[in-house]
């Protein structure tokens, strides 16, 4: 178990990087608390897998240091770091039984057979693999194989952290639910630092206590799922988290009001200081969940289309030529001719050059 920290960590795959563009990971300082559940969330190419490889020691960063409980482990090889990793595709040792697979990391470290066997039994019971212990690993389904990969990480009592690299990619939706909740339960029972890399927001948000959103080799925001949903610090987070993402409307701010294209005005509950906005690109952000479409709404919109998602519906509308999405409660049927949209003022956010503008005190 360990607290993992980075100091001025950066990485470039180029031997002689010439500028920030050559860096897969821009300089960052960050810490993962001991026994926390974290997710690294971002699109492909954002640097999340690079960061994970640096933590596990499979990749040595070109700049900066990695600290485990304050000790500099940057030059350490993976086996010395005591981390476990679960990969995108299940890795099992084909010729071994499930029991031998789970015992493998212990055997390699010379753990006495009796102790190893007790650990394996414990981990198998946590993962629901007890019945399969005697079977050949390669004859199992993808979800059971992934449980074995996970079990090999859990079986070591001294493990500093367990790293997950998109572990549910090859798992069917139904089994995803089971594995995900089991993972979360496991984290309760085995308090170890877990870091989960994914591009899937649902997986990241449901698994982690704190989510690290990454884009272009940088950390854009670190926060709880509700913080990322309710107060995205960056338009990227607003767009990336939520399905559909946040509506972003270009606007100007004039005397405490946001002026949208078409001249529509929206009163801002907490208008920012004027000088903070000067010369910057201003956008008004509102999540589809915080809009309401009704006859008696504020702004007139053109209803383009309604998507039926079963338990909720999404309206695609147009406000003065701008495409917006709004969620509709089940059962509500907006009329297409006289639809008007209302924004919940408590969830309106202002962004300048993509960054959240804090309200003036």
């Amino acid at each position: 178990m360990a607290r993992i920290a980075f100091q001025q960590l950066a990485h470039s795959y180029h031997p002689a990087p010439r500028g920030p563009i050559d860096y897969a990971l821009r300089p960052m300082d960050m810490a993962f608390d001991d026994a926390g559940a974290y997710a690294l969330l971002g699109p492909s190419g954002c640097g999340k897998t690079t960061l994970l490889s640096i933590i596990s020691g499979l990749l040595r960063p070109s700049d900066g240091t990695v600290l485990f409980d304050g000790a500099d482990v940057t030059p350490w090889a993976p086996e010395r770091r005591n981390v476990a990793q679960v990969f995108q595709f299940p890795v099992v040792y084909d010729t071994m039984t499930v029991r031998e697979n789970l015992a493998f990391p212990l055997r390699n470290r010379g753990v006495p057979a009796r102790e190893a066997s007790a650990r394996v039994d414990y981990v198998a019971s946590l993962l629901g693999l007890t019945a399969a212990l005697g079977r050949r690993a390669r004859n199992l389904g993808a979800d059971d194989k992934q449980k074995i990969s996970l079990g090999r990480g859990l079986v070591r009592s001294d493990v500093a952290a367990i790293l997950f690299d998109e572990p549910l990619t090859v798992i069917d939706p139904h089994l995803k639910w089971e594995l995900r909740s089991r993972l979360k339960e496991l984290h309760r029972q085995v308090p170890v630092t877990m870091i989960y890399v994914t591009h899937d927001q649902t997986e990241a948000l449901t698994f982690a206590d704190r989510v690290v959103v990454m884009a272009g080799g940088e950390v854009v925001q670190v926060g709880t799922p509700e913080a990322l949903f309710e107060r995205p610090a960056h338009t990227f987070v607003g767009h990336f988290i939520g399905s559909p993402g946040m509506n972003l409307l270009p606007c100007e701010v004039v005397s405490g009001e946001a002026v949208l294209p078409g001249g529509h005005r929206i009163l801002l509950p907490h208008p920012p200081a004027r000088e903070t906005l000067a010369g910057r690109r201003i956008e008004l952000g509102i999540r589809p969940e915080f809009t309401r479409i009704a006859r008696d709404g504020d702004l007139p919109v053109l209803l383009r289309r309604v998507e039926d998602l079963g338990r909720r519906r999404i309206a695609r509308v147009e406000l003065a030529g701008l495409a917006l999405t709004a969620t509709l409660p089940d059962g509500a049927a907006p009329s297409s001719d006289a639809a008007r949209i209302t924004f919940d003022p408590a969830h309106l956010h202002l962004y300048a050059d993509g960054r959240l503008v804090e309200a003036a005190p």
Partner: protein, 360 residues
Amino acid sequence: MSLMLEDIALSAGGRVLLHPVTLSLEAGSLNVLLGPTLAGKTTLLRLMAGLDRPSGGRLLVDGRDMTGVGARQRSVAMVYQQFINYPSLTVFENIASPLRVAKLPRAEVEARVHQAAELLHLAPYLGRRPLELSGGQQQRTAIARALVKRAALVLMDEPLANLDYKLREELREELPRLFAESGSILVYATTDPAEALMLGGQVATLWEGRLTQFGPAGAVFRRPCDILTARVFSDPPLNEAPARLAGRELVLANGRRIPALQRGVEGECTIGVRAHELVLDDQPGPDAVPLDATVRVAEVTGSESYIHLDVGGLAWVVLVPGVRRPEPGERITVWLDPRRLFLFGTDGTLLATPELAEAA
């Protein structure tokens, strides 16, 4: 064109891969094959394409029997989960390849490729090679190739599965419109119920090589004909519990009684209720009954929370709006509203649909 499958079936080596399927697909329609891995989605796609020969049944195109005709002689385009492009050709040549095979005049090829590239946002990359592009752009190239061919039948086998979540969302929105304009029959296989709903159109649910239901996505979702369909089409998984119908009441395993909507049926049955139809705090209706549950784990997405429960030994999931984080082990009451229940007979057939779904 129209595509008609009449009792199309496939078995190989003594194993049934696909039980007889009868389906009728109309020109310009969007059809989703929904089912878990190995349900028979790819098998069915391959039969439609003419890549495999069915072991039984007939396949009619515009009323003409085309059962044994190979893929080459049919007007078919296919997009796979893997990004399949010609690595040594430019994006332009990749998209143009089916037109070159058809020996179209050069001007026509140019025009069609540029039009497709425009629609799929590939215009700036026409001179590059596929491997220099991102995964999303590679798959767009493969889709553009299917589009320019103007095939009467376009088959897609989990085309977005290898893409990032957000890219998936984007392409999923564009796809139905791209192909609706061309008048092609689009058949799209997926394992994800949410995807089937977002795409809209018709849904065919598959389970272990059997077609269980075919109809408009919303209708199949709200009125699945049997428990298999309901399971395939529920994400989070369908919450189930054994029960017994006795006169005007439904008796649960723990002895709780629920006023039953369906009358005149006696005996064993299974209740099914979707995660978002369960309620945690307030009694949702006068007939709702409370069930005791223990919290296993809570998952919060920021706007909603999935609470995993142990309800008398059964694993259930409840979806509640907002943020809620009950501690594992906490005792909690979950309300079961008879107006939101599915009722299935012992053979799995649907006995009753939720009243609220009927209304919608």
